[in-house]
Amino acid sequence: MEPVLPIPVAESPPAPPATEPLRRLHPLTPLLRGFRFVVVLVVAISWQGYQNLGTTHWAEAVGAIAVLVLIATLISYLLTGYYVVGRELRVREGLLVRRTRAIPLERVQSIELVQPAVARLFGLAELRLEVVGGSRTEAPLAYLRLAEATALRARLLDLARPRGQGVAAQPGTDRTDAIIDTPAEPVAPPEQVVHVVANRDLVFSQLLRPQWWLVPVGVGGTIWESLISADHAIGWIGIASTVTAVLGVVSAPVRVLLADWRFTLSTAADGLRIRRGLLETRSSTVPPGRIQSVVVEWPLLWRAAHWVRVQLHVAGVHDDRQQQRAGLLPVGTAEEAEHVLAQALPGVVLRETTIRPVPPRARVFAPLRASVLGYQLGPAAFATRDGLLTRRLVIVPYGRIQSVRVRQGPLQRALRLATVHVDVAGGGPSGTAWHVDVAEARWLALALAEHSRAARATR
């Protein structure tokens, strides 16, 4: 006779997958984040508040705010943590609304390690993951110790690699594909420096931007205005507004200068790595196959120096951070651009990008641009050229094409022309071949579809 089993209790929930303990951010985090917040608040209270409140009251107010902010950030710090489950990073956060966000690592488009100036003093860093579909940077892990952030990045990139292409194939590491079972910290794969941008070139190139031309015009305008005014006095308002305007105008090149200082591009087994920055240093890693399109630009003022600029577009990196977006080459010669491009998009050779021009009748639409317009159906990517003052070459790898569109307006139809668009994910710059001959456009669209199919098949 079978032994009488005890009445089964409510079945216990299935055991969660072997998780690792929740890891916290660095203990200095509340202080650093609170500091940032308090600075913003103090600026908001501003000079007027200071005058209205008097020194003591102002100090009290700021002190009270600082304490409150510190408490808030401390609580948020205590509630925030991250851990890795399988091939997912989970970030837990939130005071009122508790949230645990799971980020599948295969979906990560790029990982950035940011060190703001203050955090750098303490040897801390922030880790940012870019995922398609997020409205902003998902899961900014701020702040971690630099060594911890680097190790975590290496580990996440390792997990982000598609299965079957494990590190086992990489020389120097004799690990198998059992990444999930071995939570040991993976060693960051060795890097190979591809290109370093000379700071001198960066400074000169940024001085060669049209914004600077507006400075003497603005200053001269203010002086001229004072000269023709009755009392020959430059008013405070005039000076203040001029200074503000000048700062606003030159902030763009200056920001590029600060952001792209000591720009270094290197390759590692886990992708392209871009390091840059003077006060705030950034090191972004773009895993292979995540580059949606590359734009090579020849600004008018740079042409005498034979300089170009190369930018890359990764889905999920948002446009409001365009200033901070990683270029592939902030400034460099065509040869350097070619060298860099060969690393980013294997198979694309800038020198061999021979542009097929548009038919002469396209001048009806673009009298001047027609000499620039054109496209190339290259071996690995589709390239289109446009832009009169700043010539732009948009390069879209066949493997990244989402859809192909042909459009034709009535006038284009009369002239037997059509425009071919190539769409890429994430709202990045898409290739547009303007005013191509109709029969050619029809052929081109089908050829692009075929190339894109072939590129997807061989992956």
Binding site: R407, D423, G426, A439, A441, R442, R456
Partner: protein, 162 residues
């Protein structure tokens, strides 16, 4: 003629349902009735011939446009190739979209009140690129469902990352 067209002619184009004509005609008919009413009110109610003339002019324009609308409806077409879907449309502004099945993120089947009245539905294919434009209106529900299921199946079979 085909030499001057952006639409490939070596694929099998499927046309949308002829009910789409009736929908277009219906919309215009409703407008005509409204315009006639406006003209009547203006003529008899306020003794204003200008209003009636304007309404009449609009009605004539609308009838002229109807001819083009019917031809535009006929220009809708789609072709299911082995790896991608082709959609064509347009009379004045012509367009052709080629969307690989593997790039499909999701498919929408929608039917507004007017479309439901004529037993029609619209199938739209979405990719990760916002600019992609693969919309096929004027499908009978059975065909819309068939297309949706086929696209979904093909999309799953050929699924790709970004």
């Amino acid at each position: 003629m085909t030499v001057f067209s952006i639409w490939p002619d070596d694929v099998v184009w499927r046309r949308v349902s002829p009910r789409l004509y009736w929908r277009a005609i219906f919309v215009r008919a409703v407008w005509l009735v409204a315009l006639a009413a406006a003209a009547g009110v203006s003529w008899y109610g306020f003794d204003q011939w200008i209003g009636a003339a304007a309404a009449g002019g609009l009605a004539v324009l609308m009838l002229v446009r109807l001819v083009f609308v019917i031809r535009a409806v006929r220009s809708w077409g789609y072709a299911e190739r082995a790896d991608d879907l082709l959609v064509r449309h347009g009379l004045m502004f012509r367009r052709l979209s080629i969307v690989p099945y593997g790039r499909m993120q999701f498919v929408d089947v929608t039917a507004g009140p007017l479309e439901r009245m004529f037993g029609l539905a619209t199938v739209q294919l979405h990719t990760a690129a916002a600019a992609s434009d693969a919309r096929i209106p004027g499908l009978v529900p059975a065909e819309a469902a068939r297309l949706r299921d086929r696209l979904a199946a093909l999309g799953e079979a050929r699924a790709e990352g970004l």
